[in-house]
């Protein structure tokens, strides 16, 4: 039979903790500090009568919005998750669970790209990512803690279409020549127009508001040829969310990327000019279809100086991204040192040439 000793605050009854800074006991609830000697003796041998009374607290209206409660099939524990969670881990027994209702019927993804890389690869990629960067604060290298690493199937909308568009450009040609007395520069201006069709296959747009869009677009591209028909079995051991951004809401982002692609691709056909500048573009989309797919992404959260840093790795290709803080002092120091070195070399070479 185990016994439990719990030091309680004489003021509020809360469980007190030993504070390493103050070297005293401190109540985290009312901030009262006590000397260890001032606390009552161990009363574990005393008989304690405990009456549990319900406070009668109830969820108020709207408080449970965005939350769902599931029962773990293995241990019966209650799993509280938000309404978009499709796969998670039971906090009591660690059993991987999938919320089948999140991916059934109209919510069923068309495709899923299974994870090709495991957690170990993600950790190694993080180490490599950080170690190859320059001017990272030393304390970041030593003190940043990997708080969380999770494999997540991120919902994406994949847009396929034939785009019909046109774009106009202002182009410039510069010609120079000279005669006996003068040098001439002729600058000719042109209005260039291009129209045509381009087909696009499976442009992905992040369908989850939880995932930063820039992070998800940074780990692109995924190889969709390795995608398979969706099956919940692929989700075992990973987290998964159902989409909370609809396909209609994702279309503007797809259109934006298609429009820029038309401008860039048509510009490649404008040749023979010295300068080409886009003036505008129009486009229409035909034969547009979209699919719903889950893409594998490893998310790694680290903490440093109270700030969270999120890294992402493409769970299929291993492409790793994530912003790393820069040591501005080190940058300044290196700039000065390198600059002084280059300056000295230049001056030295000048001397050398002068002496030669």
């Amino acid at each position: 039979m185990s016994t439990i000793l719990e030091q309680k605050c004489p003021c509020c009854g809360g469980a007190v903790e030993f504070n390493t800074d103050a070297q005293r006991l401190k109540c985290p609830y009312c901030d009262t500090e006590f000397d260890i000697t001032a606390m009552p003796e161990d009363t574990s041998n005393q008989v304690e009568q405990i009456n549990w009374n319900s406070q009668g607290a109830q969820w108020s209206a709207g408080e449970t919005d965005g939350m769902s409660v599931y029962a773990c099939n293995s241990c019966g524990g209650e799993i509280v998750a938000d309404t978009t969670t499709g796969a998670t881990t039971c906090p009591y027994c660690g059993n991987q669970v999938v919320m089948k209702g999140q991916f059934s019927g109209a919510l069923k993804p068309d495709l899923v790209i299974p994870f090709k890389l495991d957690k170990k690869a993600a950790k190694e990629a993080l180490k490599k990512h950080i170690s190859t960067k320059k001017f990272v604060p030393k304390s970041f290298l030593t003190d940043n803690r990997l708080e969380e690493i999770k494999g997540v199937y991120v919902p994406h909308w994949l847009f396929t279409c034939d785009a019909v568009g046109n774009a106009t450009y202002k182009a410039k040609k510069v010609k120079t020549w000279s005669d006996e007395n003068y040098e001439y520069t002729e600058t000719s201006y042109f209005d260039v127009y291009r129209s045509g069709n381009i087909g696009f296959d499976n442009i992905p747009v992040d369908g989850s508001t939880k995932m930063p869009d820039d992070l998800m677009e940074s780990v692109e591209p995924f190889d969709l040829s390795q995608a398979v028909d969706f099956n919940t079995a692929y989700l075992a051991g990973y987290l998964a969310d159902k989409y909370d951004v609809t396909a209609e809401e994702s279309m503007p982002r797809a259109n934006e990327r298609i429009r820029q692609s038309i401008i860039d691709s048509f510009k490649e056909t404008v040749k023979g000019y010295d300068e080409v500048e886009n003036q505008g573009a129009n486009m229409n989309v035909a034969n547009g279809i979209y699919k719903y797919a889950l893409y594998p992404v490893w998310l790694l959260n680290t903490k440093w100086n109270g700030e969270n840093f999120t890294f992402a790795m493409n769970g299929q290709t291993g492409k790793f991204v994530g912003n790393i803080p820069t040591d501005k002092k080190a940058v300044t120091k290196a700039s000065l040192l390198l600059g002084a070195g280059i300056g000295a070399v230049i001056y030295g070479l000048m001397w050398l040439i002068e002496l030669l």
Binding site: K133, K134, F135, D162, A171, E180, N181, Y182, Y184, T185, E186, S188, Y189, D191, V192, Y193, S195, G196, N197, I198, G199, F200, D201, I203, P212, D214, L215, E217, S218, P221, A254, R257, Q260, S261, I263, D264, S265, T269, V270, V321, N323, I324, T326, V331, A334, S335, L336, L338, G339, A340, I342, G343, A344, V345, I346, Y347, M350, W351, I353, E354
Partner: protein
């Protein structure tokens, strides 16, 4: 790492080229206030004069002007020499093209080589040539002859003995001016700042994609309409610096 080292070397070479191109043409020996010479001609004559200065330690300047302003011709020659020559030992010949007059100024120990007769013969060589460039070139050739003979002792001046003391004329060059040190450092700092910030910017790898060209269906792009319409053109004309024949 190799790429970074390569980038640093390239940047250094670019800087060096920039500075050298600036430093290689610092001293002006032919001063063309009258705009009678093409820039290429001035450059060529400057190289000739620079060669003389390197070999003999004597600066030989030549100035073409349209009048001397409020000062006398001799004062003008003296002031121009002070303005353009760093060397204590040297000579300047000034041609006032407007007044068809010549003046000269000899500084330091250069008078041990260039006597009045020598200067007159150099002016004659210039005056009898058809072009300004050719005249100055002939003048410099004569100056070279005087300097060479002066050193070998073969040249006999009209009245004055030669002094072959290399401590005065023909002294060692001072090397690169200290003024280029801060200039070099400034350029180095600028390049260093650009390189280091370029490296540091790679710590940021999260960004939105600009387009979707990676998802373009292969071979699907078809251009159905194309027009290149000429709008207008501008022609700018700039007069070339040219070699002018003497009147």
């Amino acid at each position: 790492m190799t790429k970074k080292i390569f980038a640093i070397i390239i940047a250094t070479l670019i800087c060096a080229q920039f500075v050298f191109s600036a430093s290689a043409y610092t001293q002006q020996y032919v001063i063309d206030y009258a705009d009678k010479l093409a820039s290429s001609e001035i450059e060529e004559l400057d190289l000739f004069a620079e060669k003389l200065e390197s070999a003999y330690g004597v600066t030989v300047l030549f100035c073409i002007t349209e009048g001397t302003g409020d000062v006398t011709a001799d004062e003008f020659a003296s002031e121009t020499y002070s303005d353009y020559a760093d060397n204590e030992n040297g000579l300047i010949i000034v041609h006032d093209d407007w007044n068809k007059a010549y003046s000269s100024f000899i500084s330091g120990n250069a008078d041990e080589v260039f006597s009045d007769a020598a200067v007159d013969s150099m002016i004659d060589a210039y005056d009898t040539n058809e072009s300004y460039y050719g005249g100055i070139y002939a003048c410099y050739e004569l100056a070279e002859e005087y300097l060479e003979n002066g050193y070998s002792g073969g040249y006999v001046n009209d009245s004055e003995p030669l002094n072959n003391d290399t401590d005065t004329i023909g002294e060692e060059k001072d090397g690169v001016s200290i003024i280029w040190l801060p200039v070099s450092l400034l350029i180095g700092l600028l390049v260093g700042f650009l390189i280091i910030n370029g490296i540091a910017s790679k710590n940021t790898s999260v960004k939105m994609q600009e387009n979707a060209t990676v998802y373009t269906r292969p071979g699907s792009m078809v251009i159905t309409g194309s027009a290149d319409n000429f709008l207008y053109n501008n022609v700018e004309r700039r007069e070339k610096p040219k070699q002018t024949e003497k009147n």
